[in-house]
């Protein structure tokens, strides 16, 4: 059914259609609207049977989810940013225990400085935790990925993180096709746990494992995630068969035919990039786009295949590996081992900084001309940075950087002072 609704609400409806049995909620922007909607559905009885638990922290949210999942319930939670970091210990634990929890991460920057706006730093910080990470490009895809995520998680006994850009997607009202319950039921069978806490067949879950078997346990976790590389496209195909639209998969190319330059990105920014590429194509520039949906497992072969014919690639990513540059870019480079492509990393959209077509035209142009620096910070206000660096050089007690910048802008501190 087509609805004009907020992204968060669409996701909440998708989660509800998946018939979750336990939902743990702790508020943090920008995921809050999702669990609010779910809470209401549970309270009205629209979503039943389901336990909606207001917990006291994200750490508790994931911990309750671990318990519920281990006891055989289909379990869901959502978080973002600091919340994700606060639950990290449990995030790793859920993966280690092989519990098929589905969690929405409404991507948001990590402080300090505290910032509620979108980038991918939160999700990227958890890229090695053992969860499958799927990135939605649109609200529709976010909705669809949640349905796929439960199936994927439960088939593999692995938790799945569905990442959607905070505010940009979560708070955007768009037309969304919310599927019928019957179709979702047809696609997603009831949860059949691989292991479950049950007095009828007691097991001890969560043993301490020493050097004699730890490597094997980790290898098995890796092997299991790698098996998702095959399964994710199959599930996308099956999804198409049931629901009649493309959603999910490992990667999605756009105008890659004869592209000499390929822009690689994750999430909602792909829309802006595609618009820019369309305009460049109109001007005859041989440029295409590769969207990565499955960041973990990372589809090395698919990325390599998509980029093999190009001359250069430009990774535009909303995250920064401080001290080296790009995170996605590093992964992409691994896929291209031995190929003679030039590669550029564009760090963009941090903390909600707008990514405009104008800026993209500029940097893509520089890349095509091979004039772009290897790691480029999109729209970086260089004068400001320079002033801070200068001041730090000169003054020992230079104060917090953010405050310094605001001072320079003459916005806050000057008025107070």
């Amino acid at each position: 059914m087509l609805k004009q609704i907020e992204g968060s609400h669409g996701v909440a409806e998708a989660v509800a259609l998946a018939r979750p049995e336990v939902i743990c909620a702790y508020p943090i922007s920008p995921q809050t609207h999702i669990v609010e909607a779910l809470g209401e559905m549970v309270k009205t009885g629209a979503l039943s049977p389901c336990e909606f638990i207001n917990v006291e922290s994200e750490f508790a949210a994931m911990s309750v989810a671990i318990g519920a999942s281990a006891a055989g319930a289909r379990t869901y939670t959502a978080t973002a940013s600091q919340g994700l970091l606060f639950m990290v210990e449990a995030v790793y634990n859920a993966a280690g225990l092989g519990l098929p929890i589905v969690m929405t991460v409404a991507n948001r920057a990590i402080g300090a400085p505290i910032n509620i706006w979108n980038d991918h730093t939160d999700a990227m910080s958890q890229r090695d935790c053992g969860w499958i990470q799927l990135f939605a490009e649109t609200n529709q895809e976010a909705l669809d990925l949640h349905i796929q995520a439960f199936r994927l998680a439960e088939e593999l006994s692995l938790p799945v993180m569905v990442c959607m850009d905070g505010f940009i997607l979560t708070h955007a009202y768009e037309r969304m096709d919310v599927p019928e319950q019957a179709l979702v039921d047809a696609y997603l069978p009831p949860y059949e746990p691989r292991q479950v806490l049950d007095p009828r067949e007691p097991v001890s879950i969560g043993a301490m494992v020493g050097p004699e078997a730890f490597t094997e346990v980790r290898y098995l976790a890796h092997a299991k995630q790698m098996s998702a590389i095959e399964r994710i496209p199959q599930l996308a195909q099956e999804f198409r068969a049931v629901f009649g639209r493309d959603s999910g998969g490992l990667v999605r190319g756009y105008r890659l035919e004869d592209a000499e330059t390929v822009v690689v990105a994750l999430g909602s920014v792909l829309g802006t990039i595609k618009d820019t590429v369309d305009e460049l194509r109109d001007r005859g520039v041989k440029i295409g786009v590769l969207g990565i949906t499955s960041f973990r497992p990372f589809p090395l072969a698919a990325v390599r295949a998509a980029l093999a014919g190009a001359k250069r690639f430009v990774v535009l990513e909303k995250s920064l590996a401080v001290g080296i540059g790009g995170i996605v870019a590093t992964n992409v480079r691994l896929a291209l081992d031995g190929l003679a492509l030039k590669g550029y990393t564009i760090v963009a959209g941090l903390g909600g900084r707008a990514i405009t077509r104008a800026s993209l035209h500029r940097v893509f142009g520089e890349a095509i001309a091979d004039r772009l620096e290897a790691v480029h910070f999109l729209d970086l206000q260089r004068e400001r940075v320079a002033r801070v660096l200068e001041r730090e050089e000169a003054v020992r007690r230079s104060g917090p950087i953010a405050e310094g910048i605001l001072k320079d802008l003459g916005t806050v501190a000057s008025r107070i002072g």
């Binding site: 280690g96 225990l97 092989g98 006994s157 691989r194 292991q195 479950v196 067949e201 007691p202 097991v203 001890s204 879950i205 969560g206 043993a207 494992v209 078997a213 730890f214 094997e216 346990v217 098995l220």
Partner: protein, 542 residues
């Protein structure tokens, strides 16, 4: 379930890990000798019969008791219960009233008519027992239960010996004594009364006896030289007490003086009181704490109005009943020495209670016998110097109590039985003594000793009714359950419960426990928390 590798484990799989290998010390169950058993002159398995009494299984308790002592109703009245003196519970609150429970069981047996089991086989041997006192009856009982044919030759007109002629009725009612004697006779023991043995070898020869046990009591009063007028009425205690069993009660008068400090002196004074004496005065040369009589008996006598002149000796008894008393003083060794101070005391009669001797004339002419200080020497098997003749009770060097005598009877019977088979009796080895320090008294419930009822004072002064009453079923049960079971498992399940490694296997009621050394780490909690000290740690040797 297809379980995730390593992270998910099968339940109970740790049984593969034998933590017993950590151990440097191991616990062992043991049985220690309870102090009550250790102290009992009759060799009773007191803790053993209390165990059954605790459960309310009184007949079972009585049967365990009478394996060693056939006279519980008597013993429960007249025994001076050294068991209670040794009882570890005395260090906790008050000793278990073993004697009271024993009396309850004895009375219960009489009331319910419980009988001894007769032996399944006859040995074909004949044993003569001389004297139907406690040691003779005890020996006869044990010998009869082993299948021997036993005849008791008793010089007196009744069975019981000193139990009858030395202990007043108010301490031992005669129906109780008669019932317990009869039960022994019911085993097939022959009793010949008024049958004094004057020559043991002759009697044995005539009767065709294979062995003899001599158990003649000390019925001859010791005399002291007291210058006395012709008409002074001076009696001996044994005669006074003996005459109480006849039809004519002794004539003691209104003022009776008893000379001596033993239990017999007390008995005579209390008897005199009951016979109507207005004054019964004991004259004793030392102080109360030096008095050989048991303090509780002294106390009871005092309650009944008996008076005692301490530190006094009788120097003279003149005609007209005036006694001259010399005051004594104790020297630095506690010995009484004369002070030269005199006083007089009026008395209608003076009863001497200065000890008794045994009539050993029946042994005249028996070769090999050694007699010293009026008693017969016996070896460790209680056999005299003449093979086949054994002796016990008052006849041998020992403390003269009913309980000791009963113990002699049992010991002699064991040895006679072995000797008759051409063997030497070997007593089973004794366990180490269970001390208070080995107990964990925390676990025992707080439980005050049950008090036996006492006859009211007026009736004690005027009748021969039994002074001390018995416990009833509920109080006897309570008292039995005060037993700490020192040194022997009573299946409280503590070891089974407190082991952090589940290394104690419970074998079921009556079967106690076993250590599972595959898992026992040797922590020792079971030892520390065993209430009764029935577990010990020993070093691992390997």
């Amino acid at each position: 379930m297809d379980k995730p590798f390593a992270i998910t484990l099968d339940p109970n799989s740790s049984l593969a890990n034998r933590t017993g290998s950590w151990r440097t010390k191991r616990p062992v169950y043991l049985d220690r000798l309870p102090p009550c058993n250790h102290a009992c002159p009759a060799g009773e398995n007191i803790q053993g019969w209390l165990y059954h009494a605790e459960s309310g299984e009184y007949e079972a308790a009585w049967r365990v008791l009478t394996r060693d002592n056939p006279l519980p109703a008597v013993m429960g009245r007249v025994c001076y219960h050294p068991c209670e003196g040794a009882c570890n519970r005395g260090k906790l609150d008050q000793a278990v009233g073993i004697n009271a429970v024993e009396r309850f069981l004895g009375d219960e047996a009489i009331r319910r008519g419980w009988l001894f089991e007769r032996p399944s086989q006859a040995s074909g041997k004949r044993v003569l027992v001389v004297g139907a006192g406690p040691s003779g009856l005890s020996a006869a009982y044990h010998l009869a239960r082993r299948g021997h044919e036993v005849s008791i030759f008793e010089a007196g007109p009744f069975a019981g010996g000193m139990m009858r002629f030395g202990i007043p009725k108010y301490r031992l009612p005669r129906d109780v004594l008669d019932a317990e004697v009869q039960r022994i006779l019911d085993l097939g023991v022959e009793l010949r009364l008024n049958c004094k043995v004057s020559n043991i070898l002759e009697t044995m020869g005539e009767g065709g006896f294979d062995a003899a046990f001599l158990a003649v009591g000390a019925h001859i009063a010791k005399r002291a030289f007291i210058p006395a007028g012709d008409s002074a009425r001076i009696l001996d205690a044994v005669a006074v007490l003996r005459s109480m069993e006849g039809e004519d009660q002794p004539m003691l008068g209104r003022r009776v003086v008893v000379y001596g400090g033993g239990n017999t002196a007390i008995d005579v004074a209390r008897t005199a009181k009951r016979l109507g004496a207005t004054e019964a005065i004991i004259v004793y040369r030392r102080t109360r704490d030096k008095m050989p009589a048991h303090d509780f008996e002294v106390e009871e006598a005092l309650q009944e109005g008996v008076m005692v002149k301490w530190l006094s000796t009788i120097k003279q008894a003149s005609n007209g009943g005036t006694l001259t008393i010399e005051k004594m003083a104790l020297d630095q060794h506690g010995q009484p020495v004369p002070t030269g101070e005199f006083e007089t005391l009026e008395a209608d009669s003076l009863v001497l209670a200065l000890g008794q001797d045994v009539d050993l004339s029946l042994l005249d002419g028996v070769p090999g016998l050694v007699i010293e200080k009026g008693v017969v020497k016996v070896n460790a098997q209680m056999m005299t110097g003449y093979a086949g003749i054994f002796a016990g009770g008052d006849m041998v060097p020992s403390e003269r109590t009913v309980t000791v005598a009963v113990g002699h009877g049992k010991k002699a019977a064991n040895n006679i039985d072995a000797w008759l088979r051409g063997e030497t009796y070997e007593a089973p080895p004794k366990h180490e003594l269970a001390t208070y320090e080995q107990l964990n008294p925390w676990y025992y419930a707080d439980a005050p000793k049950m008090v036996r009822p006492m006859l009211d004072l007026i009736r004690r002064q005027s009748s021969f009714d039994e002074v001390q009453g018995g416990l009833d079923e509920s109080t006897a049960l309570f008292e039995a359950r005060r037993c700490l079971s020192c040194g022997n498992c009573f299946e409280c399940d503590n070891c089974y419960g407190v082991c952090p490694d589940n290394a104690v296997i419970k074998l079921g009621p009556g079967r106690r426990f076993r250590f599972n050394l595959d898992y026992c780490k040797g922590c020792g909690i079971c030892v520390a928390e065993c209430p009764c000290g029935a577990i010990s740690m020993i070093a691992e040797t390997t």
